[in-house]
């Protein structure tokens, strides 16, 4: 396998300004602050994290809908970090996005046919007749009736609209599709339809996905590798099997154990870690390890002083975590996680 996308130390800061006439920058929202990952061709990288941790911002930077503040994005062997509009044009053909809100992301005044044909128009591909044929083919692929060609988005349900969005993303055979919470707004039964569709398409068209979601079950279902984010930084990445079976970062652990289990017997038996407090603001993120104010393993003088680096797990090819006191086994309950073995050894 080859690397399709390499992201190194990506940063995106939004200025917080005040003043009407003279805008003064009074702070920065560090929405994405040092994210690195690679995506191999043909795989799915799942990205999980709570609201506001910078998932969408990261995706928009990668798709170059936003200008990164720092870092490097290499797509298909080419550095696209600071390419201009015209230089990005040919690259956009290979990189498409599917958005969360199936109601807001489609232009309400355009017909379905026009919406799906949009990328073909933009890149001037094919004659009108070719395009129409292609659009009907795409509608068929995503499970819509080709006769829906002349309908408007409001005539469709949420799930069907998401299919339209997917058809549009597929239109010019992209290599990478970035899905930003594509099923979060859908009911479970419809969500299953869309997840299955995405999987089928990946198999049939050799697609590579970055799949963003806040539902760990969904991410596990679709991904090969997973990246867990907290306040603009990745705290753990790894193959799906390793990360879900043996999370190393306390936050990943808490996240995993917080998911309600749809089985009363398993649910009662499981060990759970419930965090206290809320996710802090990315305007003044906590120093050093950003998770330290909520972390059950927090050690004063270490976690709030030293920033933990992404550290590979011994004996694993691509499982790494950013924590001074990684979990030594899984599952754990709250008391167990608070007991840190080798504590004295770790604080120098």
């Amino acid at each position: 396998m080859s690397e399709l996308l390499v992201v190194e130390d990506l940063q995106k800061y939004f200025p917080v300004t005040r003043g009407l006439v003279f805008q003064k920058e009074i702070a920065q929202v560090k929405a994405v602050d040092g994210v690195s990952f690679t995506v191999e061709a043909g795989e799915t990288l799942g990205v999980v994290g709570e609201s506001g941790c910078g998932k969408s911002t990261m995706a928009r930077c990668v798709a170059r809908l936003l200008e990164p503040t720092g870092g490097k994005i290499i797509f298909d062997g080419r550095d696209i970090t600071h390419l201009g509009r015209t230089q990005m044009r040919p690259i956009r053909r290979d990189m498409m996005m599917v958005f969360q809100d199936p109601y807001a992301s489609l232009n309400a005044r355009k017909r379905v046919g026009e919406i799906v044909a949009e990328p073909l128009d933009v890149h001037g591909i094919g004659t009108d007749k070719d395009r129409k044929r292609r659009v009907q083919e795409l509608l068929e692929i995503v499970g819509l009736n080709p006769e829906h060609y002349n309908r408007f988005p409001h005539e469709f349900s949420g799930g069907q609209r998401q299919r339209i969005g997917i058809a549009r993303a597929l239109a010019i055979n992209p290599k990478l599709i970035i899905c930003d919470e594509p099923v979060s707004a859908l009911d479970v039964s419809v969500q299953a339809q869309i997840l299955n569709l995405l999987k089928d398409l990946q198999r049939d068209f050799d697609l590579t996905y970055i799949f963003i979601a806040h539902d760990l079950n969904v991410v596990r279902h679709v991904s090969d590798r997973v990246m867990v984010m907290y306040l603009g930084k990745p705290v753990e990445t790894g193959s799906k099997q390793e990360l879900y079976a043996e999370p190393k970062h306390p936050y990943s652990g808490a996240l995993l154990s917080a998911v309600p289990i749809a089985d009363p017997t398993l649910g009662r038996a499981r060990k759970q870690i419930v965090l206290t407090g809320d996710v802090p603001s990315p305007i003044n993120p906590p120093a050093a390890c950003r998770f330290h104010p909520r972390c059950p393993r927090f050690v004063d003088g270490k976690c709030n002083v030293d920033e933990p680096e992404l550290t590979p797990v011994a004996g694993s090819s691509d499982h790494s975590y950013a924590c001074h006191f990684p979990l030594e086994r899984w599952p754990m309950d709250e008391d167990e996680i608070r007991r840190r073995p080798s504590l004295a050894a770790s604080v120098d």
Partner: protein, 323 residues
Amino acid sequence: MTQYLIRRIFWAFFLFVVATMITYVIFFVVPADPATLAAGKATKPEIVAHIRRELHLNLPIYQQYWLFVWNLVRHGSFGYSFVNGLPVRTMLGQEIPVTASIVVGGVVMYLAIAIPTGVISALRPRSILDRSGMIFVLVGISAPSVWIGLILIYLVGFRLGWTPIGDYCNLKPTHAIGVCSGPGQWAYHLLLPWITLAVGSAALYTRLIRANVMETMSEDYVRTARAKGASPSRVLVQHVLRNSMLQVVTILGMDLGLLLGGVVFIEIVFGMPGLGAQLVQAAPRFDLPVIVGIVLFATLSVITFNFLVDVLYAWLDPRIRLA
């Protein structure tokens, strides 16, 4: 709060400069000679030239402007009318109470009509009251206020003879013979102008308030209040009214400018000696100091009013505490 105040003051200053400067520029661009006009029929060239010097009209426009600003800042003077030589400040001093009476009374009147009608028709949608309210709204919105004014003068003032048709009486009682004054006479004479001014706005605000109250009634927190066991009247008073007034207050702030425009017509129709009537007299005579004075006062009142609206809004909505 200080941040906010500084911004406001800065903004007020900016508006002041822009408004007065624009007036000067327009005046300069329009090809007219107030000196000739002021000299009247007997226009000997020397007299005109003298008047021109007297009024500083011989100076370039930027110097005239500078002179105006200097006098204003240094002496608090708006200058003297080109036409009758009276201090503009004195003139304004007489006219402002008239205009203010019309505007304030009109606003009070239309709010007094619109708030209850709007709220009641929102609470009882499709009831008879709601429907008749909506008919009133349609009429009020589609009929121009000048037309309503004229109709009122004819019907109420002339045919029925219930109210005076024009003239302004001072609010403060005086005992001079032949001069009407005192609150009773004041209000009596202003009744028709107020109604004329209020009809259109009352209709608009009724509709606005109705829509806002209905929207607020469907908010989640109103449902929460009902789920707590609050009675319908308590829900209305404690949870709906304040929230539904937020937008009304914003619109009110934006409306003042428009209202001042409407006042001009009303003053003419009802023969009220206010700022608007004065403006209409001064404009064709190119009486620049008077025009600038009025513009300045209008700007100032809009600024003040917006400030009050902001304060009111911040009091109503804690999310917008003046930052």
